[in-house]
Homo-oligomer: 399 residues x 2
């Protein structure tokens, strides 16, 4: 990509995301949908000004990683722990239901081959934490009990999603259901979850210790971004999603994360403030790029809207996609059913995670074009509808 072309691209992304985001906010529509629309308009479905490329993909990935870091930084670990069991149930059911129903519908309603059925099921298991988080942030609910359960569940979902992807990918190549590889990935991820917070906490202590002692300006942003990049990389190296790494880095720097016997490692308020001051503008620059890129990837031109078969398939799978995630939230105890309902709604957006899964199936020659197009449409619908409902129904939360 030519550098000057990139300047124009970045200008268009940021300015259109800002204009449509603001406009939507004024119309009482979630602003994140304005940013998605900016991507749709700039991409293949719209004026085709911008094609997704490596540079934009990397900047977008930094965007979602920074978003998870920010969430981690604001997380109350005690609340997260309390939510833990519930998050786990929601996450597991949010994988099992969509996967099982997705595979069954593929096999017995539409007679897809087993390979295709596995990929369709896999795509439906995805949860896009980015979309839901942005909506929760926009309505200032990211610290609510519901948000804690949802954030925990979405992160666990991402972990299970990656393990599932390894499993399906292995099968699609070897045609054998092998558990060896899946188990070793699982073991690696679990060891990362145990070790990473301790390492992150020690590093955040060191960051705190050396800060104030520096001669070259810019210590805070460069050292924090270094930490986030390091944890994202290591998380991926352990087979876990990169966002788990940045989330852990954020939690380690948060106000209320204490290790047993580690009280000397405690983060003070001033430090957290400095991290936030340094990181906020950087996060605000990168996150719109992420949402615009999700919109860019929603390529409506692959869809043949005139096909009756398309509408039948889409209808069935949208139903499965919505209900299978929504129902999982009713297997935990909440003060009232409205809360279960809000949790269920929050889990529905498939967003970029679903797009990646579908794209992988297409590139590997497993998903034929019509089924790929159907999945893209299902992902778009499940991504766009819940933010509306969440924004307007959150006032019915029981606290």
């Amino acid at each position: 990509m030519e550098i000057h072309q990139f300047f124009l691209t970045l200008f268009l992304i940021l300015i259109l995301a800002r204009i449509l985001g603001e406009l939507f906010a004024r119309l009482n529509i979630p602003s994140v949908l304005g940013e998605l629309l900016a991507g749709v308009l700039l991409g293949a479905s719209g004026f085709n000004f911008i094609q997704p490329n490596d540079v934009l993909k990397i900047l977008a990935e930094i965007g979602i990683i920074l978003l998870l870091f920010e969430v981690g930084l604001e997380t109350d670990v005690q609340k997260l722990k309390n939510a833990g069991k519930k998050s786990f149930i929601v996450a597991i059911l949010g994988v099992v239901f969509p996967f099982v129903f997705g595979v069954l519908a593929s096999l017995y309603i539409f007679n897809f081959s087993f390979d295709i059925a596995l990929f369709v099921g896999g795509t439906l298991t995805a949860t896009s934490i980015g979309i839901t988080l942005r909506v929760l942030k926009d309505i200032h609910q990211e610290q609510s009990n519901i948000a804690q359960i949802v954030i925990g569940a979405a992160v666990i979902d991402d972990i299970i999603g990656i393990i599932l992807l390894v499993f399906i990918y292995d099968y699609s190549i070897s045609k054998e259901l092998s558990f060896g590889n899946t188990m070793s990935v699982t073991a690696m991820v679990l060891s990362f979850i145990i070790i990473a917070p301790i390492v992150a906490k020690v590093l955040s202590y060191l960051i705190h210790k050396f800060h104030g002692d520096t001669l070259v300006p810019g210590y805070m942003p460069t050292i924090i971004i270094s930490l986030i990049m390091f944890f994202s990389y290591v998380s991926h190296a352990f087979g876990a999603p990169a966002i788990l790494g940045s989330f852990v880095a954020g939690v380690a720097l948060s106000r209320r994360f204490f290790l047993p016997f580690g009280s000397f490692l405690q983060t003070n308020e001033e430090m957290v403030q400095k991290v936030q001051t340094a990181m906020t503008p950087i996060i605000q620059i990168f996150t719109p790029i992420f949402f615009v890129m999700v919109g860019l990837s929603m390529d409506l031109t692959v869809i043949d809207f005139a096909s009756g078969h398309f509408w039948i398939m889409s209808g069935v799978f949208i139903l499965i996609a919505v209900l299978s995630k929504y129902l999982g939230a009713f297997f935990i105890t909440q003060k009232c059913y409205q809360n279960n309902s809000l949790i269920g709604l929050s889990m529905i957006p498939r967003g970029e995670v679903g797009l990646i899964f579908a794209e992988m199936g297409r590139v590997n020659g497993i998903l034929p074009n019509d089924i790929y197009a159907m999945l893209i449409f299902v992902i778009i619908v499940t991504t766009v509808i819940p933010p509306f409902l969440l924004k307007h129904y959150f006032k019915f939360e029981c606290t």
Copy 2:
């Protein structure tokens, strides 16, 4: 480039730049040289961990663009105007002397062909504003009279450099000295210089007007980065360097830039503060990437240090490179000769601009390997030595 590989790359760049920058600062060596060394160590001359690629090149370019924006933002336009004539003389002589002496030495001492002589001369005309600016910032002299002259001269130098490149490039293809293309580029650049500040000022007034009125957080960083990207792109489209665009954007937002009859467009102090708060962490993240990338591009492995011919060529051209820039500064009136000397020293670093020129000559098959290697070495020496001298002799400035 694999995304996760990029996380590791960015981690290594930021952390090594930070560590070596801090270490050098403690040893009373300019910290920017620590960042260059980080690049040398990570690149082909060192452990070869990182190869320059499109993503890094774009991030580095954003780094230098933001650096020039920051300088623009802090610029006192009145001072810049006062310095204008002197800047112009220093810039013109800083192009004419190195070019003429470089071409003459190429032709009559080393018997290079005319094509090669033109590219060698062209490479020697470059001035890296980045290196000098960082040194001036580190010693808190970026607002001094000397700095104003140097900044003005380096920006003008970059403009002349681009026009010269068009001229030489045309010749190397058509073998005719045509002035038509050169003149039209010059006319375009001049029209940008006249129009851009007015447009930038009007836009900065609009930015100011709509600010405070937004529902989606992150207005300041996204809108300012948009403005910078837009002006960098337009500047390039007019045939001027991208950094001229970002510099103009910065000046338009600065405290002391007034248009005739435009007092209603005045920027207030609060606005400038907000711009600085939002932009500082972003600038601090991108600029080290720029300096590390310059280090990465200094590929010492191309040089055959055992060759006597190499040392003779390098010796002669280093002498020409240093003296021809240094002398230009003595054709303007300063309070004392120390000031001329400091201005001359500031103009010597060739940095990334020289590297780009040399690389272009090599890629187009004009510069043979031995002459390319010699130029790389000349650029490295002229880039590394002046920061030391500036840091230690700035105390002799007459004010």
